[in-house]
Structures are given as structure tokens and as C-alpha cells.
């Protein structure tokens, strides 16, 4: 995969730290922040291709962050992650503006596949299903 820089936005500190370690072990440069506001600040610094965003972060919500990314950073692809996975058969509605959605807990390989899809198909239409 060409170099893709990933930003993870999730308030679960240990989850972010562990995902960063695992991505970096696979040669994917990544950074992480614990709030939507810090995420938008990071994006403003530039250099990120994909944001992995928890929909349920407190404060400046995932939906608000997603909307701001679409308005201010249109080239950045967004992979949503959510623990709100009660839907039968893992199907969840994908909010407009997001590239795809993963239900927690998810396999890191699935996450990397999605990031790879974003890289290979920058104009990929929104998917309508969620995966683990």
C-alpha cells in the first residue's frame, strides 16, 4: 500500500494507544487523539489521508466532527467506528459523508482493508453496511 497517514479519534485512550502500536507494526504511520476538537486541530496541521473516528465520542460529537471534516477537509476519507452495534447481523446505517463504518470490536485486518480500499478507490461510494 502507498503510504497512507491515519488519524484515530476516540476517547478510549488504551484503545487508541494499542491501535497505533498495531498500525505502526504494519508500517502504517498513524497518530491518535482523544477528542473531536483535538482531531480537527491535528487535521489542520495537514498530512492525513484517513480519519478513523468514533461516532460516540463525548463533547464535540462524532457527527459534528464528521460534518466539519467534510466541509474543511474534503479530501480526507473517514472510517467510522462505533460500539453502538446492536443492529441484527451487524448492519448499521452509514451517516452521509463517511466512507465506511466498523462495529466494535473489529479485527485490525478489516480496518486496514478499509483503509486500503480508500487509498485504491478515492471516489468509492458510501457503503450501507457495517462490518466487524
Amino acid at each position: 500500500m502507498d503510504r497512507v497517514k491515519v488519524l484515530i479519534i476516540d476517547d478510549e485512550e488504551e484503545l487508541v494507544a494499542t491501535l497505533l502500536e498495531r498500525l505502526q507494526m504494519r508500517g502504517l504511520p498513524a497518530e491518535g487523539v482523544l477528542s473531536g476538537k483535538d482531531g480537527l486541530r491535528k487535521l489542520a496541521e495537514g498530512g492525513f489521508d484517513v480519519v478513523v473516528l468514533d461516532l460516540m465520542i463525548p463533547g464535540f460529537s462524532g457527527q459534528q466532527v464528521l460534518q466539519t471534516i467534510r466541509e474543511q477537509f474534503p479530501a480526507v476519507r473517514v472510517l467510522l467506528i462505533t460500539g453502538h452495534g446492536a443492529e441484527p447481523e451487524g448492519v448499521a446505517e452509514l451517516p452521509p459523508g463517511a466512507g465506511d463504518i466498523l462495529l466494535k470490536p473489529f479485527r485490525i485486518e478489516t480496518m486496514i482493508e478499509k483503509i486500503k480500499e480508500f487509498r485504491e478507490n478515492p471516489n468509492l461510494p458510501n457503503s450501507k453496511t457495517a462490518q466487524r
Binding site: 478510549e12 488504551e14 484503545l15 463533547g59 466494535k104
Partner: protein, 222 residues
Amino acid sequence: MNDNRERQQLEFFGCILASATHQLNNVLSTADQVVGLLGDMLAAAETGHRLDPRKIEDIKDRLLVQVRRGADLVGNLNSFAHSVDRPQGEIDLGRLVHQFLSLYERLAARRRLELNKALFAVDVGFQGNPLDIQHALFLFLEVLHPAARAGGRATIEVRQGGKGAIVEARGGPKDLAIDEEAFTSLASRLAAIVPAASVTRSYSPGGDMILALHFGNKQAAG
């Protein structure tokens, strides 16, 4: 119990279960990734990379943190579920609020409520029904939702008051605001669902709004 009260109790249970299971899912997801990290290291070791015992120790500690976090959450959830079985009796409000807020944490964070547990006095005892008290707390916290403005903070405190016990939410003019309609609605819902509780609203000399939930000593709402 009439249908309306039963329905409202079910809604209350549903909200708490949703919040707690969401947190539990986060715990499991984190533990899952930590286990995955261990798997990554073992796979790397098979290809000749050195396995660092200190790193393994670190992963063990990180997993233990999640196991303890999950166990606390499940313990609190279990106590919450069993509060249905418990009759009226002596209650330590500080402990009960602490336990309840651990389940409500996710919802509280989304409402920007700063839950200062250091302010939860111990041995704030009075006679009450644990399920009704938690339902009253839920209604009280829910009304703070539209009150905590963007970036604002409300601090929750538990203390003895008169012959009963009090839970207070306090915030500055930029942090808390509650309109007359929301306040009146809370007071009437409390009266209908948890008659042992009442709510008051006051202001400190510094302009902080104090919304207080009283148990065991009925106050005139105002």
C-alpha cells in the same frame, strides 16, 4: 403500578443498560486489541524478532486494567439490576450515586457533566427505595442535558441535608441553564414517579445555579 409509570421505568432501565453495555463494549474492544497486539508480537517472534519480556509484562498489566474495569462495570450493573428486588431500607446515598454514575458515565460525558466523585460524602444515609432513588437521579441528570451548554461543566455533589440527603448539580451562568418549563416538568415527573424526592433551584451569591434533588425531606419546589 400504572402503565405509564411502568413504561417510564422500562425506559429508564433501557437507557442505563444501553449506556453500561456501550461502556462494556469499549472495554471488550480494547481488551481485544491488546490481545491482538500480543498476537502480533508472537507472530513477529516466529520470524526471528526478539520477544521482550518487559513488553509482555506491560501487555499483561494493560489487559488486567481492562479486566478490572469490566468487572467493576458488571458488578455495578448487577447491583443496579438487583435494586428491583430490594425493599425500602437504609441507603448510603453517596455510594448509590457513585455506583449509578459509573453506569451513567457515558451519557454524562455526552452531557458534559463533570462528575466530581470526591464531593460524594460517605455515610449519607436515609430510608428509601434504591430503585426509586436511581430513577429520580436519572430524571434529575436527564434534565441537565439541555442545560449543560457547549463546553460547560456541571459538578455533582452528594451531602446530608436536614433529615434526608441531597444530590446537587452546580454550575456557573455559562455552564448551566434550565428553563422554567424543564424545571416544572422535572418537578411534576418526580412527584408522579418518585414521591419521596423533590427538586429545588437556587443561585449562589457568585451566580452559580444550584439544582438540588432532595430525598427524605420534602422541599417546596422553587
